[in-house]
Symmetry: C2
Subunit: 242 residues, 2 copies
Amino acid sequence: MRKAKTEEELKDDLSNYNADQYKKPSVTVDICICTIVDKSLKILLIKRKFPPFRDCWAIPGGFLDLNLNETLEEAAARELREETSLENIYVEQLKTYGDPERDPRTRVVTVTYFALVPWTDALKTSVEARDDAKEYRWFDLRYGVPPGIAFDHAKILGDLLNRLVGKLSYSPIAFSLLPKKFTWTELQSVYEVILGRKLVAPNFRRKIKGMYNIKESANFQRALKPGRPSTYLVLGKKKEAY
Amino acid sequence: MRKAKTEEELKDDLSNYNADQYKKPSVTVDICICTIVDKSLKILLIKRKFPPFRDCWAIPGGFLDLNLNETLEEAAARELREETSLENIYVEQLKTYGDPERDPRTRVVTVTYFALVPWTDALKTSVEARDDAKEYRWFDLRYGVPPGIAFDHAKILGDLLNRLVGKLSYSPIAFSLLPKKFTWTELQSVYEVILGRKLVAPNFRRKIKGMYNIKESANFQRALKPGRPSTYLVLGKKKEAY
DNA sequence: TCAAAAGTGTTTGACCTACACCCATGG
DNA sequence: CCATGGGTGTAGGTCAAACACTTTTGA
């Protein structure tokens, strides 16, 4: 009875919804894990072990598990954690893809997110030294996706790059790609890699100082090279408008 | 057999997916229909006739019908057509909402789109003079949403306003809110309404001319008022970069 | 003393904004 | 003539790019 009423309510919600034909699509949440290493913008792809697109590279993700009772963003964060063991990472919704033919098996609606993670050697280890027989690899997002990438993932990565380039200039996403403490050179490198062009250091630093609350951390020597060691910086709370 | 294999493939796609617990969420596509009339930015809401949120205002939408074999954007455009009889309208994906508790009945993932429609009196008529007992109303997006709006639709409309304001300055969405032929005053009014502030006409026109290919259409007198009649404009193909 | 990090100063040009002012056009 | 549509010109300010130069710091 309760259920029947619900069915009726559902039916009325839509314009021309036929309860007899009603089938639900599968819903997956995919996570584009981005980082910057070696002066290039990388994304983590996984090699598929089963058809369709067997042995093709694909964006990691999984079906939405209703039992976990999590939000979509939490699902994305959980998948990120499962792949990288990282937590407290910047995650943002990218777009949702649901073309009828995008998965040859069945109708799949995929909500994609992207995560910006600071590169660490631990990350490299945790991803490469897995024992679950999954093959992972970091791909350069600017060098073009691997040929034969699965599903419509080439389009997704294109949308991702556009989003990153577009948001970089007016939002603090660059800091999410760096550890808490970073140097001016590292920060500038993030901008240069995403924008794909060199920047002039003094102008860059003036601009960043005007937009964000950059504070100096403890000075700390990092490398065994000559010259002045760089200052560590941290991003403070947002600049107060006065 | 074919089906069994598919199940296995599906299972492997995910990290910790349990086929026995596997339930699919419902997927709906909602459409925020925006227009500008009477110097204000309006959105079309529908009054719900059944619980939950009976008699509350809500964004129109419907469940994704797999039998129609349409893309998500086509589904949004179809719903727009069903509500307004309009076709060839600018439609863009806004965001996807899927919190577990957003619909008290069952798990619902909603992909929201927004449509920008030029106001016409025909639109007013087609929406208001419906015979399907649905109650529609245009709400001013800047005046705050109606109290007790259904589900998480208040948040959706907030995201929508942010998107419109943000995109206005670098994309030609304003033209989608006007008929093919429009005047400088009308175009400026669209910008002023969305931005929420007055603009200086000469500067506005110089700027728009620099960004878009504005062409004059046939001069045509419109009103029975004194003064020079306004020139009709059309948006030409994008400016060639040279 | 050297090399790298970090900052200062300045010039140039683009562009935005406000405002004054002029021209065009039809009632 | 007048009211409105539409444009030109310009002065002031902001901002960004480019580049030269200085200062700081530790090996």
